[in-house]
Symmetry: C2
Subunit: 134 residues, 2 copies
């Protein structure tokens, strides 16, 4: 009945290519990046504009889906925590959630500030930060 | 290479059963609900406790995945907007994002406040609201 397969709608274009050196959070030196949507999703982008704050959902395709507990931030001195109590990328459904600020929209390309996702990361969804009238 | 299939880790147990009458946002009368995780994910829950604010990711299995533009909040008087500029449930990858506050943890069942997801909705992920030390 339900189809649980994700259909990527685009990908991230970023100078970040190495997971081991990538910042863990956007305020830890993440660069600006482009969200590159497939042309057929152009109608879904209608209404996006510079200055908007959005939530970007990605698929962390390099994550290990069998990990259930981790040392937070990879620090072996910290006690093991369940992945649902952390933001670790390794988890059963490795959905990445990123706060992004739109700098520019050019056709189906959206330029955003400070994104910690790696180059080539598949994009699943984009939603506005919630306000009362949306 | 990449597996894009979601593996639900549990489901929502809620008095809400009808999409047409469900609140659209948690502050519009959403009831408390239980997050019921499968037993094998117990290690992933370690560290969860009452009082924590979390982000719950669900799969909106009753959504229409071919919808690319909508009238916001179903109001035909409002101009069409791309689904990525709205929180409409109908979208290519209908991931639900819900702010939840943990009221209680009982084994692999987690009681949360004000959840607008329907009974039986599959759970994909749970992450802490971001703070500096996580």
């Amino acid at each position: 009945m339900s189809d649980y397969r994700m259909r990527p709608v685009g990908h991230v274009e970023s100078p970040l290519t190495d997971r081991s050196t990538a910042p863990r959070q956007p305020d830890e030196g993440a660069p600006d990046a482009w969200l590159v949507f497939e042309d057929r999703f152009a109608p879904a982008l209608q209404g996006l504009a510079p200055g908007q704050d959005m939530l970007l959902f990605t698929w962390l395709d390099r994550a290990d889906r069998d990990t259930l507990a981790v040392h937070p931030r990879g620090d072996a001195d910290r006690p093991l925590a369940g992945v649902f109590a952390t933001r670790a990328p390794d988890r059963p459904n490795p959905i990445g959630l990123h706060d992004v600020h739109i700098l520019a929209v050019a056709g189906t390309r959206v330029h955003v500030r400070n994104l910690e996702a790696l180059d080539g990361t598949p994009i699943l969804d984009l939603k506005p930060v919630l306000t009362r009238d949306r």
